[in-house]
């Protein structure tokens, strides 16, 4: 077999080559199309779907998704192309010659209605009992096309058992319409490849390797499949019943930490436009629901920067000065999807992974130790909830090693979607809530912790501190308003070099006992990289394996999800590149509005190293509470 190129997906599902001229504006670069007798000119190779969008005609789609390669399988988007015997799927038809299209002829309308009827005949379940009720693409289509009865019947028994083996993703294949978005998400967007169509004909279904439960295969729990499922066939494992129970139990002290990404996105669940930050309204809502304390995960993100940054400096010092054998580049470890990805796919690189826990888990450990002490509460009675944009966080908090406080660090990981539902259930209209602040003793965090939510954010946060530590200059003097623009944006892989120069600063007190001075970094160039989406992570890992330019990096940020946490598998549905862009804008805007924008300037972080973690970052106690280890899982499953 020859080389299939970069694609791991079946070739039928990648856009095929059509002879598109390089200069799209030149002669032959465009082609004219007549859509419902309206003429327009489009670049050669434009799909019918895109062309229709340009003239304001909406075509229904189910298998098509802006983030994914083409499938052309649901056939709901068929249109009539003059001169062709059959209807054509507009999502996959590239326009290369002048054509005439009818998007709403009797034949087209009949075909679409038939397709909806067929899908409904095999789609098990009633809308009332489905978490996607009101936000289901199949339901919407049925409504748009006036489906008032089940023309071809309706299945009354589930065809498959619900698979809720995974802490993160629940699969209810009786609701699956075989659009294969999950398959393409997993294999093409994320290059994990856990899901595939199995069987043929009426036996076709989406399954895992040897039909094993999801918990037993190499799923990384990123939940990107959930975000792209048009129906309720995929959902996150919802712990809200248990949380309600804890809230209703008077002896339990229920605290919640909220991550920045849900705050930037939860408004979408309440009809607000993407990119409306709800941070302080959410604080009020959560207290009204019954949470005893509301904490800012960003505090722990700031702490992560100090711990992970110190770890990086130590690694560099050991490598450059002590000439020890140290695993470099250091990889970030705050994305649990990425952690499981590397455990499965590159277990030989686990030493490169920072031992620092993710902010969620650090915070969990501190809540049941430091906070419990301060507040005088028995940690056994604390129920710690984490509002996260993430489905993998559910798995992470259930990892057996995450109990360094003697208790489960975090009891429940809750997604943005689940939180929104709890708020609605409590009869609260989030956008109308008055604003309120986070609770002490952790209080408000820095902007550095906040931008963890966007791809490049962890790296930017780290550099804001590291650059200042090492050079002695204010970060603002090097990067305008401390915004490190090259690390922002949604490019799959970002790379940056920061020359240290000849002037170095004073070693901060916090780490003075590790390193006497910065002289060994004089004239050095710090090389960093950022990747989001595991497909991009894989590219970097393969480059490192072959000794490429990324193997020379010192620090690399990896996020499992496209766009970073703001595009996480627990975020509101739908997700598109535009929506993710808006969420990022909201996060960066909030960062700019804050007074403290560097982790090491967070007064509560300074305080915790004075009062609790007295031996400083990467010390014995911090290692016990704030650091962890990983499992060599490998790609082969028993």
């Amino acid at each position: 077999m020859g080389n299939k190129g970069d694609f791991r997906v079946p070739v039928s599902q990648v856009p095929h080559s059509v002879p598109i001229p390089e200069d799209i504006t030149g002669i032959g670069g465009t082609v004219s199309v007549e859509i419902n007798e309206k003429k327009i000119s489009v670049p050669l190779g434009t799909t019918i779907l895109e062309a229709c969008k340009k003239v304001g005609i909406s075509i229904p789609t189910l298998c098509h998704h802006d983030d994914l390669c083409i499938a052309g399988v649901c056939r709901i988007c068929v249109v009539e192309v003059e001169g062709m015997r059959t209807l054509q799927a507009s999502c996959s038809f590239p326009i290369t010659t002048p054509i005439k299209i009818k998007t709403s002829s009797p034949m087209v309308r009949k075909a679409r209605r038939h397709i909806i009827d067929l899908l409904l005949s095999e789609h098990y379940g009633e809308c009332y009992t489905c978490f996607r009720n009101g936000n289901c693409e199949l339901q919407n289509l049925a409504k748009e096309y006036g489906v008032d009865s089940y023309t071809f019947g309706h299945i009354d028994k589930p065809r498959f058992e619900v698979d809720n083996s995974s802490y993160s993703v629940v699969r209810d294949m009786s609701k699956c319409i075989l659009c294969k978005r999950c398959v393409r998400t997993c294999i093409d967007l994320q290059e994990v490849g856990v899901l595939e169509a199995i069987g043929r004909g009426d036996k076709t279904h989406i399954g895992t390797f040897l039909e094993k439960p999801l918990a037993d295969v190499i799923c990384i729990n990123c939940g990107q499949c959930i975000n792209r499922c048009p129906t309720g066939a995929l959902r996150a494992n919802d712990p809200s019943d248990a949380i309600w129970e804890a809230i209703d139990e008077p002896t339990k002290h229920v605290v919640i930490q909220t991550a920045p990404s849900p705050r930037a996105a939860i408004g979408e669940e309440f009809g607000l436009p993407a990119g409306t930050s709800m941070t302080r309204e959410l604080n009020t809502a959560l207290r009204r629901i019954g949470f005893d304390k509301v904490f800012d995960t960003n505090f722990a993100a700031d702490l992560t920067i100090i711990e992970e940054g110190t770890e990086l400096i130590l690694r560099l010092y050991n490598a450059l000065v002590k000439k020890g054998k140290v695993a470099l580049p250091q990889f970030t470890s705050c994305s649990p999807g990425w952690v499981k990805f590397i455990e499965h796919y590159y277990p030989e690189y686990l030493d490169n992974l920072s031992s620092a826990k993710s902010p969620q888990q650090m915070f969990g450990a501190l809540i049941k130790t430091f906070y419990a002490q301060q507040a005088g509460i028995d940690p056994a009675n604390i129920v710690s909830v984490a509002l996260m944009p993430c489905s993998a966080k559910k798995f992470e908090c259930n990892r057996p090693e995450m109990n360094s406080s003697g208790y489960k660090d975090v009891d429940y990981g809750l997604t943005t979607r689940e939180m929104a539902r709890m708020i609605k259930e409590a009869g609260i209209n989030l956008p109308e809530m008055p604003k309120s602040d986070f609770d002490s003793p952790f209080g408000e965090a820095s902007g550095a912790g906040l931008i963890f939510g966007a791809t490049g954010g962890v790296m930017e946060a780290a550099l804001r501190s590291v650059v200042e530590f090492v050079t002695g200059n204010k970060t603002e003097d090097i990067f305008e308003r401390a915004n490190i623009i090259p690390l922002r944006g949604f490019e799959g892989i970002k790379y940056m070099e920061i020359p240290i120069g000849d002037k170095v600063g004073r070693v901060p007190d916090l780490i003075k006992h590790f390193i006497p001075d910065w002289n060994w970094l004089k004239g050095a160039t710090l090389k960093v990289a950022v990747a989001h989406g595991t497909a991009n992570a894989k590219k970097i890992m393969e480059d490192i394996k072959s000794g490429g330019k990324f193997s020379e990096c010192h620090f690399i940020e990896f996020m499992a999800c496209p766009g970073g946490c703001l595009g996480g598998g627990g975020q509101p549905i739908p997700t598109t590149p535009e929506i993710r862009m808006k969420r990022a804008e909201a996060i960066y805007a909030e960062d700019e509005s804050l007074e403290i924008r560097k982790s090491h300037e967070n007064p509560n972080v300074i305080r915790i190293y004075k009062e609790f973690l007295r031996e400083g970052p990467c010390s014995h106690l911090s290692h016990k509470l704030l650091h962890t280890h990983y499992v060599k899982r490998g790609r082969y499953i028993a």
Partner: protein
């Protein structure tokens, strides 16, 4: 290899291995394409696409690599003529592939052999080895400088859909057998993304004769729109089932006469995906422009229950749909359930009409030829045998 004494006008006429290759290599590519165009040869798999046009598109494509693939998946129920060609006339098929390779500029040919034909694999490979010894394959074939070409045989695994050319290519690439989106077509983006000709065994087998005797000679046979001869795989209620070479345009009556079929009720032309023709239309001719077929002719005698025949076909499609597109995957199930309703007498004519409409949608909205042709039997049998099915012994009266 056992050699049966067959006699026929074109394919089963005299031919010596390598003869056409030698003649072709003396000609220019344009000359071969010209003869092919003259012959008006159309694809024998059933769709009837002009072979010269297909070859020409790949010949004209710019690419570092091109492929010629012989579709020997022969999965259509009731078809077994490719088996006869491969067993008894492999020289025609392989020589046709070499000529195709020369004409389109491919250096690699692949035979996609039906999984159930595994038993032929060894003898076919032996045959290819013999061709290599005679320099009919390999480097600088029969002394033609710069023309290197070889053939490999790859086995299918039994999925009907892999007879569809783009699903076949997917299967060859090691993927799940599923039809691709078209356009682009294999002539543009085929095997490994390269321009590819996919031809039926029988199409390729016709090529050596056309090269030797010319397009004019070829089109003496058959009709104006369906030139040459066709191999028919005849099965069912007749005295002499088997593979027959007949000129295109032969009527069903004539064919029934030849194979010794008496008191026939219906003839299924084109396999499970074809149409069912009742007695009253036996004067129709077998040709692309009338009753088109890839070769399958199934004869049903007077005592056959047409509803059972239809049920059998639909069961086949329910299982053999690749399952990727909605109209084919669920549509065939619904048609099949409809037949069961008729069998039990639990149906309304209104619902049966809805299913017929659904069949029309499947014909136009399915992704590939499988779903587009699977309702043919349903529609034609219910239409042509409604008396028997709804009032006779087949079903009970509906509401």
């Amino acid at each position: 290899m056992e050699k049966k004494e067959r006699k026929g006008i074109v394919l089963f006429s005299e031919y010596k291995r390598g003869e056409a290759i030698k003649k072709a290599l003396e000609k220019s590519r344009e000359e071969i394409l010209f003869e092919l165009r003259e012959s008006k040869l159309k694809g024998r798999g059933g769709a009837g696409f002009p072979t010269a046009t297909k070859w020409n598109m790949v010949a004209a494509a710019k690419s570092d690599k091109k492929f010629i693939i012989c579709n020997a998946d022969e999965g259509e129920p009731g078809t077994f003529k490719d088996r006869a060609l491969l067993l008894e006339y492999p020289e025609l098929v392989f020589d046709g592939m070499v000529i195709a390779g020369y004409t389109i500029g491919a250096s690699e040919g692949i035979v996609y052999l039906r999984g159930e034909y595994e038993y032929m694999l060894k003898s076919l490979n032996d045959y290819l080895e013999a061709m290599r010894k005679d320099n009919l394959l390999g480097k600088n074939i029969v002394g033609k400088n710069g023309f290197d070409f070889d053939i490999t045989i790859r086995l299918g695994s039994g999925a009907y859909v892999c007879g569809e050319e783009t699903a076949l290519i997917e299967s060859l690439e090691g993927n799940r057998g599923e039809a691709r989106n078209r356009p682009p077509y294999p002539v543009n983006t085929g095997y490994m993304g390269k321009p590819t000709v996919v031809n039926n065994v029988e199409t390729l087998a016709a090529v050596p004769h056309i090269v030797l005797k010319g397009g004019e000679w070829f089109k003496k046979y058959g009709t104006d729109k369906s030139t040459g001869s066709k191999l028919f795989s005849v099965s069912g209620d007749c005295e002499r089932p088997g593979v027959y070479e007949l000129p295109w345009g032969t009527t069903i009556n004539e064919l029934l006469e030849i194979v010794g079929a008496k008191s026939v009720k219906a003839v299924q032309v084109g396999g499970a995906s074809g149409i069912c023709i009742p007695k009253s239309q036996f004067n129709r001719s077998l040709a692309y422009e009338d009753a088109a077929t890839g070769g399958s002719i199934m004869i049903f005698g007077e005592n056959r229950n047409m509803l059972h025949v239809l049920k059998n076909f639909m069961k086949f499609f329910v299982e053999e749909s690749c399952g990727q597109c909605t109209p084919c995957r669920i549509g065939n199930t619904k048609l099949s359930e409809g037949i069961e309703m008729i069998e039990k007498g639990e149906y309304t004519f209104a619902y049966i009409n809805k299913l017929k409409e659904l069949g029309q949608t499947m014909k136009v909205a399915s992704k590939c030829g499988l779903g587009q042709s699977s309702p043919n039997a349903f529609i034609s049998i219910l239409e042509n045998f409604k008396e028997e099915i709804f009032n006779g012994n087949g079903g009970r009266n509906g509401k």
